[in-house]
Point group: D2
Chain length 138, copies 4
């Protein structure tokens, strides 16, 4: 294993906060922490491009008063009805909605469904979280 | 306990089917079966008018292509967001939706929410099923 | 259509309550109300024995402290995992649980799953409510 | 804003994969990509320690045949029943379970609930994903 060294430019304030996190999480130095972040982002990216079957949850928060947004989200979801196992809808208050979709399919397909939904005009926050079907884990 | 006897007029075909059900369910005679049906309808009616807290599930089937129906159902549900714990939405096929609401509140209030949703234009089938919070049952 | 007349024995108190319901619901006489109840029970029974695909919700209320009941219910459900689309679990209070299963399959199969779950020792209340896949309803 | 420069040691293979991701995501150089990862980790950490109300989903995958694990997870969840809005349970196959909890509360409390559940013996994979109540986002 060959080691390479490269430099990172960063503003002082951000670096100072990062150093606090590093200390809190128990990393011994910045390189170790950066390698952890890089590895974690690789895992997520490989997952999202995977062609094997996986399970994802897509979380959406939006305002139910946004005209025709519920209609649009329902119709987008119906196009992928074979992949979406269920959607749980929580009425957070008199206007905000939370929808949690459970999706089964190839990582890359789940990623596409997630991108379509989270980019719909009026969605305040969207998040994709990938997990596993449990089959390949003993 | 005083017993009364009253007569029921019914067409032959319906009675014949009812007799089959009675036999299948193990009732000893028609009076017993009729008393069971009457008692069951009383329970349901008392439940629906009850002022004590209970739990209900409201099931809706509708066509997602019906213009603005998703929007309407979402907005109706938001008016009662404090009573509706969660809504599970299943995309049955490329157009049909199933929504199952879990509602907590007084029987009569749950009944009203159910009536508003099931009477929305475009809802194919709606059903209210009441159960219990489990508190008063040992 | 031939009409038959048969007699029903019933205790006074039950009949008196039933007469109130009849009045409240707008039936013109007891025969009409009884025929409605009989027809309704036939529909439910035919649904439960149907071989065509339908959708049902099974509602269970139980005490989470009942030893090994969660394990048992989970294992019973796994035997039928191909029919059970999703199960929503609500923690009603510090001990009571609500589970709402959404099941897809032949009416008679859904009925069997429901009977197994609701008869599990420790289940306080169980209810099957059948609806439709929406396909045969315009 | 003062800029600081620090060095990172990393093995060649990891760096090479990271460079591919950087190109794919459209970052202009490694420093920009590293700053993004640092910022993202700060957001997640601040969220998890936040005292303001937020919404999280906790995803668990486990084997339903693991003795008493369902019982344990149900009891752990009941201790926090006031924070857990609903749990959706999907029977993935004849033995693997997916549970998706929707939790409302302070970020740090949600984090604690998540840690308890994901560390339960027999849980194959657990994931916490935090979002928002939508209130502070216009």
């Amino acid at each position: 294993m060959e080691l390479t060294r490269f430099g990172v430019s960063i503003d002082d304030e951000l670096l100072s906060k990062f150093d606090q996190i590093i200390a809190g999480k128990g990393f011994t130095n910045r390189s170790e922490a950066i390698r952890y972040l890089i590895r974690d982002s690789l895992v997520q990216t490989e997952w999202e491009s995977a062609s094997q079957e996986t399970i994802g949850t897509i979380t959406l928060v939006y305002n139910s008063h946004t005209r025709e947004l519920s209609d649009l989200l329902t119709q987008l979801q119906h196009r992928h009805y074979e992949s979406i196992i269920s959607t749980t809808h929580i009425h957070l208050d008199d206007e905000n909605c939370l929808e949690v979709l459970i999706v089964r399919g190839r990582g890359q397909d789940i990623k596409k469904i997630s991108d379509q939904l989270t980019s719909a005009r009026g969605v305040k926050h969207g998040r994709l979280s990938l997990t596993t079907t449990g089959k390949d884990i003993l």
